[in-house]
């Protein structure tokens, strides 16, 4: 691990240690925050008991579906919009202001239309993540060096082959940025939707635990979400850094 990595780890370790000590010494009320070691213990017991396995599967299943739909649909729409300059000109202002609008205001509408099920949550996730993928695709396609088209013609490559073997790899860093954003937005949108109103899911049982003053369960599940989201994002970040270093975009 690099020196910066060790420093980062030390900072996180110190913060967790301070929280642990503060909780154990009673500086932080046990009814407000439980010690991190107790969170870990509660999470392990919860996982071993299997009580929430179906909820975990449901939430991560919706997140996975949201990511897949947003990436595939966002990429496809990005390609189409890129190919139609007039359509792009029309849509550009919407893209520029999309994230200035609190998309969650449409959640009740989704529930009214589709009922209290996984579908409104999935749609909220896609609505939140999709545009990030479209914008990333447009950026990627804009930045494909024009020289590659000439090189492709020199190698007698057809349109499909040029797209798959030259244009997509050239646009890949931007597409990957889109994928990273989609993953982050999907987690946020799905958990938040479940937290607000849902028949089941991790967000819902965290909300229930909060209402029931069940701090052990609430913090255990919060820890699970933090760990999973962090691991997924760190994996994507590491891959991104590795590829970027190869391309000379950042120092490895």
């Amino acid at each position: 691990m690099s020196r910066v990595g060790w420093i980062r780890l030390a900072v996180i370790g110190t913060a967790i240690g301070l929280l642990e000590i503060s909780c154990r010494l009673g500086l932080i009320d046990h009814r407000v925050v439980i010690p991190p070691s107790e969170m870990v213990d509660a999470l392990l017991r919860l996982l071993i008991s299997g009580q929430v396995n179906d909820q975990i599967a449901r939430t991560f299943g919706i997140v996975t579906a949201t990511v897949l739909i947003s990436v595939v649909l966002g990429f496809a729409l990005g390609v189409v919009i890129h190919a139609l300059p007039r359509l792009r000109e029309t849509l550009d202002p919407f893209f520029a202001t999309y994230y200035a609008v609190p998309i969650f205001i449409f959640y009740p509408v989704m529930i009214a239309i589709f009922g209290l099920s996984a579908i409104p949550i999935l749609l909220m996730g896609v609505a939140t993540a999709l545009v990030a993928m479209i914008i990333a695709t447009l950026n990627g396609l804009d930045r494909i060096p024009r020289i590659l088209t000439k090189v492709a013609r020199m190698h007698q490559m057809g349109r499909l082959s040029t797209t798959l073997r030259l244009k997509l790899p050239a646009a890949a860093p931007h597409l990957f940025t889109g994928v990273k954003l989609v993953v982050s937005y999907s987690f946020i949108a799905v958990i938040a939707s479940e937290f607000i109103l849902a028949p089941a899911g991790l967000g819902r049982i965290i909300s229930d635990a909060y209402s029931d003053f069940d701090n052990r369960r609430m913090y255990a599940l919060m820890l699970l979400l933090i760990v999973v989201a962090t691991l997924v994002n760190m994996t994507l970040h590491t891959l991104d850094q590795r590829w970027a270093a190869r391309r000379g975009l950042v120092k490895s």
């Binding site: 060096p145 020289i147 590659l148 000439k150 020199m154 190698h155 790899p169 391309r247 000379g248």
Partner: protein, 276 residues
């Protein structure tokens, strides 16, 4: 101005009355970029094209390579017309960095061969050979971002070389390099030319580069580009950058500059000054 009449078997590629006019964008006039141009390229010769900026040198190369169509006239390569498609046997090296950033140097060089269905053993043999020839053997596993500009250009040359082209078109391949590197790269290209026995057409804005490398040099007018003069250098086939110290080298560059001075001023918008 055309070269002297040659027997057909000695002509590798030719342009007859080639013109290229780009359609104007909305509300703008069409741009007459090139021609009419007539030129016969001899089999195995090293021909350079020089001319002021924007005179249509690169357009000439792209029309000859089949990368864009001629508006009028005919382009013939090895006896067959070239029609908006790069014929087999032509290799192009561009001015811009055309390496594939996501592939290693070795995979960059192997790219075209793998596409053409050559056996893996033959791919390995040709790529290893080309990388050795271009001095890139020790960098085979490196990525383009880890190389200098000159080395990246050598990767592009290696990628073209493995295809064993009979006609190599170089579009200002050293344009982005410093003067010393360009001199050394010039030697590399001469070595490549001698080894492959291919015909080479070099587009350059550097008169010294053209004078050092070429058997013949075509000097083009300001846009629309036409050949004003074709200069025979008379260099032996075995030559290198030491010829820049010879009196004849100075005479050739001086003659080219005499031809091009007024055209260069014209291209900069100093037509009146040139007339004086």
């Amino acid at each position: 101005m055309t070269s002297t009449t040659l027997p057909d078997r000695q002509i590798h590629a030719s342009l007859s009355g080639v013109t290229r006019i780009y359609p104007g964008a909305a509300g703008q006039q069409p741009v007459h970029a090139l021609g009419p141009v007539d030129l016969d390229l001899r089999r195995g010769e090293f021909f350079a094209v020089v001319g002021p900026s924007g005179c249509g040198k690169s357009t000439l190369l792209e029309v000859l390579a089949g990368l864009q169509p001629a508006t009028a006239g005919t382009v013939i390569f090895e006896g067959r017309p070239v029609a908006n498609e790069v014929p087999e046997g032509i290799g192009v090296v561009f001015q811009e960095d055309a390496t594939f950033a996501w592939l290693t140097v070795w995979d960059n060089a192997a790219f075209g061969l793998r596409r053409s269905g050559v056996s893996e053993a033959e791919v390995c043999r040709r790529v290893d050979d080309a990388l050795s020839f271009m001095g890139l053997k020790d960098f085979a596993r490196a990525y383009p971002a880890q190389l200098s500009g000159g080395m990246r250009q050598r990767v592009c040359i290696a990628r073209t070389l493995v295809l064993q082209p009979r006609f190599i078109l170089l579009d200002e391949p050293f344009g982005a390099l410093d003067a010393q590197t360009r001199l050394l790269m010039g030697d590399e290209v001469l070595r490549l030319w001698r080894r492959t026995d291919s015909t080479v057409l070099l587009i350059t804005h550097a008169l010294d580069e053209a004078a050092m490398l070429s058997d013949r040099i075509g000097a083009m007018s300001a846009r629309p580009g036409r050949f004003l003069e074709i200069v025979e250098t008379g260099w032996p086939r075995e030559r290198d950058n030491t010829i820049v110290g010879q009196a004849q080298f100075g005479a050739i560059t001086g003659r080219l500059w005499d031809t091009l001075r007024a055209e260069s001023l014209k291209s900069l918008g100093y037509g009146g000054v040139a007339a004086k």
